[in-house]
Amino acid sequence: MTSTGKIRLGALAASCLLPALAFAEEAAAPAVPKLDTGDTAWILVSCAMVLLMTPGLALFYAGMVRKKNVLSTMMQSMFMMGLISLIWVWYGYSLAFSPGHSMGGFIGNFDFLWLNGVSSSTASPLAPTIPHLVYMAFQMMFAIITVALISGSVADRFKFSAWVAFAILWSTLVYNPVAHWVWSPNGFLLAKGALDFAGGTVVHIISGVSALTACLILGPRKGHGKENMLPHNMTYVLLGTGLLWFGWFGFNAGSALGANGIAAVAFVNTNTAAASAALLWSLIEWVRNGKPSALGFASGAVAGLVVITPAAGFVSVQSAAIMGLLVSLVCYGAIFLKEKLGYDDSLDAFGVHGVGGTLGAILTGVFASSAVNPVVTKTGWALVMVQLEAVGWSWLIAVVGTFVLLKLVDAIFGAKVAPREEELGLDLTQHSENGYEI
C-alpha cells in the first residue's frame, strides 16, 4: 500500500537533513524548525491555485458536454467547493489526519473536529515550516477536486440530489480513510514505503477507478453510440486545460510544502510531463487521423499532469518526459479500448485519471531516483512491487466503496435521471436553468 504521506514528510525531512537542499541555515538543527514566511507564502498561493483547479476542471468538463448539460456539469464540480470545504473543516480533516485512530485504524477520530487543535501559529509534524492551518487548507483543496474528478464519467445523467449524497458519503468513507492510511502520521500504510509525491494514488487512482465503477453502475447516456455527442465548446476545454495546468503547479510543486529545491524539481517535471504527453497525443492523432485535434492536445496535457503527480519530486526531467510519452500512449489506447468495450465513461475520467494515475504510480517505482530526492531509498523491482501493491489496494477500495455507496444512493434517491430528463438536459431538469439564453 501507498505511503504518500511519508514521502511528503520525507520531502521535508530531506530539506532538513540535507544542507544542500535546505535554504535556511537554521534548519540544520532539525529539532525545532521555525515557521518560514517564504514557505508559508508559497503554500498559501498553492492552496489558492489548487482551489482554482476546480473551476478549471468544471470548464474543462463543461466544454465537452452538450449545451443542455453545461451547468449541471459545472455544478457537479464546483458544488464540491462548498460541500467538501465544509465537511473538511468540520470532520473530514480530522477523520483523515487526526493522530488518533478509530475502527482499528480504518479511519481517524474526531480530535480535530472543527479544526480543534489545528493551530495557526505552530506547524503540523507533516509540514514543519508552515502553520498547521495552512497544511490543512492545502489538503482541503485536494479533497475537493478528487470528488469533482469523478463526475466526468457520469456526466449528463447523474441526478443532482443523488450526486450530492454520493459525494458526501464517498468523501467521508472512501477519501478520508485512504488519506488516513496513507498520509496521517500514524496511518498503517505509512510504513510500506510506496512513493506518491502529490496524490497520484489518493487523488487520481481512486477518483478514476471510482469513476469507472460509477459509470458502469449508472449505465450509458441515452443515445450513447447513436447520437453525436460532440463537445459543445472546445474553447472552454482549452481554457480549462490552461487553468488546470496553472493550478497543477500548486498541486505538485506545492506538495514540496515549501519554496525549496524539491518544489523546483516538481515544478519542472510537472511542466515537462504535461508537455511531452500533449505532444505525443497530438502526434498519435496526426498519424491516425491525419490531424492533431485540440481535444487531443488538451487530453494529453491532462494525462501528462496526472502521470507525473506521484513522481513529481522524485524523478529527473528526462524521466518526466518519458513518463509523459508513455501516459499518452497508454491513455490513448485506453480510450480506444473504451469504444470497443462500449461502456460510457463520458468524459474519460477513468481513461485519463484512473489509467494515467495507475501508470504514474507504477512508473514512479521505475523512475524514482535518490539522486533527485534523498528520501527515495528503495528503487528498482523492490519499489515497483510496493507501488503495485499500493495500486491494488487503491483499486480495491475505490471499486468496493463506490459500488456499495452508489448502490445505496441509488436505492434511496435514484441515481440516474429519467430518460425524458436526460433528453431535456440536466440544466433544466436539475437546476431549472439554461446555460445560455438566446
Binding site: 452538450r66 449545451k67 443542455k68 441515452k222 443515445g223 447513436k226 447520437e227 453525436n228 425524458r420 433528453e423 431535456l424 438536459g425 433544466l428 431538469t429 431549472s432 436553468e433 439554461n434 438566446i438
Partner: protein, 115 residues
C-alpha cells in the same frame, strides 16, 4: 414544377440519424439551424431568483428542398423513420411549395438547381 421545401423541427439528438437516413435516399442537400419551441409540451419550468418562467425546448430545424412531390415524400419518410420514438417531442414536419430555386454557382434554376 413542384419544388417542395420540407421543414422538420426535431430533437437535437436525432440529427445524426436523420442525416444518415437522408443520405440513404441520396438527398441533394440540407440546411440545419438551431431553434427553440414547444408543441404540446408547453415548455419546462425555469427559475431566475424568485421568478418562474417557462423555458422553450431546444430543437433543430432541418430544411430539405426537394425537386418534386415524390422526393419530398421520401425525405419525409426518412426523417420520420429516423426520429420517431412515439413520445412527446418527436417534432413536426412542415411542407411548403417553392416558387423557384437557383444554384448560385452555375445560375441553374428549378429542378436542375437541386439535383
Amino acid at each position: 414544377m413542384s419544388l417542395k421545401k420540407v421543414e422538420a423541427i426535431v430533437r437535437p439528438g436525432a440529427m445524426k440519424q436523420i442525416l444518415l437516413a437522408l443520405d440513404a435516399i441520396n438527398y441533394a442537400g440540407v440546411t440545419v439551424s438551431e431553434v427553440q419551441g414547444h408543441g404540446k409540451q408547453k415548455g419546462v419550468k425555469e427559475h431566475y431568483r424568485d421568478k418562474t418562467t417557462l423555458s422553450l425546448i431546444s430543437k433543430m430545424k432541418v430544411e430539405v428542398v426537394c425537386s418534386g412531390e415524390k422526393e419530398a415524400e421520401l425525405a419525409i419518410e426518412a426523417i420520420v423513420n429516423a426520429t420517431k420514438t412515439g413520445e412527446f417531442g418527436d417534432g413536426k414536419i412542415f411542407v411548403t411549395d417553392l416558387k423557384e430555386v437557383i444554384r448560385i454557382r452555375t445560375g441553374e434554376t428549378g429542378t436542375k438547381a437541386i439535383n
